[in-house]
């Protein structure tokens, strides 16, 4: 099962070795089994999608990866080492950033300030220094601001740099969330339904940005998405879940032709 060799995608990109591996993950809430004995891996540099009907356990899976939930059974392997149970902020420090299904930005703060919060894990000046805006804090902020500005430029949100997030339309808020996650310079970027509630044009823009992020920074991306068209176009490999179980895993084409997947999506008489 462990494959550290990597592979070459259909469009000729070289994908690296295993970055993260989920081994026999089971997650229970009391008597409810949200995830049941699921194993899959994420390779460095690939776009990996998790799909499935409502309630399949996709978001729970993402929360396991991001450290929000600790699995009841099974192991998470990250960068070649078994990950002990961790708090989400510790996982974030390891280079895992995420966006949320329901936008979780600071509405009253400007876009710039929101994106700056993505750099929090990279700042370690003391309280006094920060309060006085002097010495280390000042240099640190300048360095971080530059990184943030590159992200702002990349996602083309210069014109709303100083706009409070609360005043932005939904599609742009999603982009700001992506900006904040990117500002953390993650090695693994988790996107929880990045296209939910968007119109076609916004979806196209977002798809473009996701591909560009992957292409430009080589960021590994794991995303959950409902829109099958988007998933099939964007991802290199897809995990399909249904009722907490893995029912398919492979390239978009393999998954599309998988009978279990078709049944799960179209429904079969039981």
């Amino acid at each position: 099962m462990k494959d550290t060799e990597g592979y070459v995608t259909a469009d000729g990109r070289q994908i690296g070795g295993t970055l993260m591996e989920m081994r026999n993950i089971t997650l229970r809430f009391g008597g409810v089994v949200a995830i049941q004995d699921i194993s899959f891996d994420i390779h460095e540099g690939e776009v990996r999608a998790i799909i499935g009907p409502n309630g399949a356990g996709k978001s729970s899976m993402l929360n396991v990866i991001s450290g929000f939930y600790t699995p009841s059974e099974g192991e998470v392997w990250y960068q070649g080492a078994k990950r002990p149970p961790m708090k989400p902020y510790e996982v974030a420090r390891q280079g895992v950033a995420r966006t949320f299904q329901n936008i979780a930005l600071f509405e009253g703060m400007t876009v710039l300030d929101n994106v700056m919060t993505g750099r929090l894990t990279h700042m370690n000046a003391g309280v006094v220094s920060q309060a006085l805006w002097w010495g280390k804090a000042r240099n640190e902020e300048m360095e971080n601001r530059e990184k943030v500005e590159r992200v702002i430029d990349f996602l083309e949100i210069q014109n709303i740099r100083k706009t409070p997030v609360g005043r932005l339309p939904y599609g742009l808020k999603k982009r700001v969330e992506l900006a904040r996650a990117l500002a953390a310079e993650p090695s693994l970027l988790l996107l929880d339904e990045p296209m939910a509630g968007m119109n076609v044009e916004e979806k196209e823009d977002m798809s473009r940005f996701i591909l560009d992020v992957n292409d430009e920074f080589g960021t590994t991306i794991c995303l959950i998405e409902h829109d099958m068209g988007v998933v099939m176009d964007l991802s290199d490999r897809v995990v399909v879940m249904d009722y907490g179980k893995k029912i398919g895993d492979g390239t978009p084409d393999e998954v599309r032709n998988n009978q279990d997947v078709i049944d799960a999506y179209l429904g079969v008489p039981h």
């Binding site: 530059e146 500005e149 702002i152 083309e156 210069q158 292409d215 430009e216």
Partner: protein
């Protein structure tokens, strides 16, 4: 002939001006661009190094003398450097409109036989790749922004910074060649080739020599006392002659700094931050700004609105007179001062006009009310009249002689004459060399003595010597009863209303005038919002009863005003309709500089024109539209046609004929 090729003070080319600027103003800023939230700047010395590296890189790629290099993208220092680098190696820069669709680019690239293109980003790269197989001469493309281009085949594609790097590496090999080529440039070598926007037919390549550009830049810089510490914001299309004169010609002559915005969306913020001292904008920009101010004042609180209205009324009364240095009473001056603190100053600051010393508008006639609005605030906004073929300047308004209905006196070095038919002709050092590969058109436009037909009808006011333009000569016609028909005159009056974005008036050879109206979505949309009127699309809003009522009221006001004018009283609009789509350059209805293509619109919407004249109340129509990605679609609509009240007048014959 030695003195002929010497040029103004021995400066015969743009690269020569660059060398002078390095030695005289080496450390002052030449370019600024906002990137990563900070204004990055390059001094003249640094600029020269960047240009040299690129020029060497171009030699390394095999650019020959006389090659055409297409330059496509928004205003960025790198692209301005590209133009000068191209000139340095003896090639000819051809800036293209960046919003042109692939087929339009194909025509131009094919017509000039460009071997190279320097473009801004993936969008432009894609367009050129789409057509490059059909372009036999085309070889290499250089791009600025690498984003999204990593997977592209790089055999004929090069990154800008790499070309510069290779140039620096190959310096020993090529620097002699570069010096030789730059030294060879004289006053008559081609400086730039610019394609006309083409109100009629295919674009034509206007060849402008170093003499044209440098003489014009020199004369116009002196006219307005431009200095090394002036600041401009470069935001108008690089393919437009005005931008070339301001951002290359005058900038290199005077040594002032060219500032490039961060992105088109941040233009207004960037304008405010830079606060240019020398500013140029087509009337449309001023109109849009005024519309936005008015919309926002509508939304302002009662106190603010009252203050604004009160002081603006005062500004309209005395502002222009104060600006022109006329006698104004002490009390009025005091009140104006208070207004400056309360309203004008903050407003100018918000618009980015706090430091404007000289502002120009040209390209189209500007509504007198719009013009007076800006002047009343104390902004020295003037008009100029120009053409690509003249290297811009034909006439311009001197300080203190500014009026909204004239375009000023002949620019230094320009002679003007009016032909018997009323068309304006000019002759100047800025007159273009030729239309590239189009000797017929060149001969049609420019006669043996160097007089050029402008295509505009106008006359010179005897009392002041100012030129007044009536309309495009070919658009000025006669109505069925012989009365003079000048559509632009009426359209401009209509377009002053914030609700009306564009108007097209028909009536040549007919018994009465009728009009197409385009509503301004920003203004009308805001009005709809305030009045709780729901709408789902532009089309729906454009067809709304109350919108039609408003437009009808505007037209009737305009009719009343036109009726005052003896010569043009026959041009009152009898019937009108509001178009279901915005006129768009992508559909060929406007030029890239957003001028109405009257004939094409008349043909395309023939059914609507007929309906205007046959008395029907409604008309059903289907229109093909082109989306931004080049796909085509259809819009179907039933439009209501309305009658507007006209003021009865007795038709008069044209006095001159």
């Amino acid at each position: 002939m030695a003195h002929m090729t010497k040029g103004a003070e021995g400066l015969r080319s743009v690269p020569a001006l660059l060398a002078r600027n390095v030695s005289q103003y080496g450390r002052s800023p030449a370019y600024r661009e906002k990137e990563y939230g900070i204004w990055q700047s390059w001094s003249w010395a640094e600029t020269s190094k960047e240009i040299e590296a690129l020029a060497l890189g171009l030699l390394n790629l095999g650019v020959n003398e006389g090659d055409f290099i297409a330059i496509i993208g928004r205003n960025r220092p790198y692209l301005y450097w590209s133009m000068v680098a191209a000139q340095s190696v003896g090639a000819i820069p051809v800036p293209l409109y960046q919003d042109a669709v692939a087929e339009e680019m194909e025509y131009v690239l094919d017509h000039c036989g460009a071997r190279f293109a320097i473009v801004s980003d993936q969008e432009q790269v894609d367009k050129v790749i789409e057509v490059q197989d059909r372009l036999h001469q085309f070889e290499h493309m250089i791009y600025l922004d690498a984003r999204g281009l990593r997977k592209y085949d790089h055999t004929r594609l090069h990154e800008f910074s790499n070309v510069q790097k290779q140039g620096r590496t190959a310096r020993d090999e090529f620097s002699k060649e570069l010096k030789a080529r730059t030294a060879k440039l004289d006053y008559d070598s081609t400086c730039v080739m610019l394609y006309t926007s083409g109100t009629t037919g295919k674009p034509k390549g206007v060849v402008l020599s170093n003499r044209n550009i440098i003489e014009t830049a020199k004369a116009s810089s002196e006219f307005d006392h431009l200095k090394v510490d002036d600041e401009v914001l470069a935001y108008l299309p690089m393919a437009w002659v005005g931008d070339f004169i301001f951002s290359i010609g005058q900038a290199y002559w005077s040594g002032f700094c060219v500032n490039c915005p961060e992105s088109p969306e941040t233009m207004m913020t960037d304008l405010r931050e830079i606060a240019p001292s020398y500013y140029f904008a087509p009337p449309r920009v001023f109109e849009t700004q005024l519309t936005q101010i008015m919309i926002r004042m509508e939304d302002a609180g009662a106190f603010k609105k009252k203050t604004f209205d009160y002081f603006m009324a005062h500004a309209r009364k005395v502002g222009p007179a104060i600006l022109d240095g006329h006698d104004v009473g002490l009390l009025d001056r005091l009140k104006y001062r208070v207004g400056e603190i309360m309203v004008y100053g903050p407003l100018k600051n918000a618009l980015g006009f706090s430091k404007v010393r000289v502002g120009y508008t040209a390209g189209e006639a500007i509504g007198p009310e719009i013009f007076d609005f800006y002047r009343s605030l104390g902004i020295n906004l003037k008009q100029l009249y120009g053409q690509t073929e003249a290297s811009v300047f034909i006439t311009q308004q001197p300080d203190g002689e500014v009026r909204s209905d004239t375009v000023g006196v002949p620019s230094p070095g320009v002679e003007i004459r009016i032909s018997d038919s009323g068309e304006v002709y000019y002759r100047s050092p800025g007159v273009f060399v030729e239309y590239y590969k189009n000797a017929d058109s060149t001969a049609d436009t420019k006669d043996a003595e160097g007089w050029v037909a402008t295509g505009d009808a106008g006359f010179i006011e005897e009392s002041t010597g100012h030129l007044r333009i009536i309309d495009r000569a070919k658009d000025v016609g006669a109505m069925a009863n012989g009365a003079m028909f000048a559509p632009k005159y009426v359209e401009n009056k209509l377009k002053f209303y914030p609700n009306i974005l564009e108007a097209v008036v028909f009536g040549s050879g007919r018994d009465r005038c009728c009009a197409f109206i385009n509503i301004d979505l920003a203004a009308v949309g805001n009005w709809a919002e305030r009045n709780n009127i729901a709408y789902a699309s532009y089309q729906e809003l454009a067809g709304h009863k109350q919108v039609l009522d408003t437009i009808q009221a505007h037209i009737e006001e305009v009719n009343a005003s036109i009726a005052q004018d003896e010569m043009l009283s026959g041009c009152q609009v009898h019937r009108f309709l509001v178009l279901h789509k915005e006129l768009d350059a992508d559909d060929g209805e406007l030029t890239r500089t957003r001028k109405v293509r009257r004939k094409i619109i008349g043909e395309k919407f023939e059914d609507l024109v007929n309906a205007l004249y046959d008395g029907s109340d409604t008309v059903y129509t289907e229109t093909e539209v082109t989306y931004e990605d080049g796909r085509k679609g259809k819009i179907k609509a039933t439009l209501e046609i309305r009658d507007a009240k006209v003021v009865p007048v007795t038709p008069q014959k044209l006095a001159a004929e």
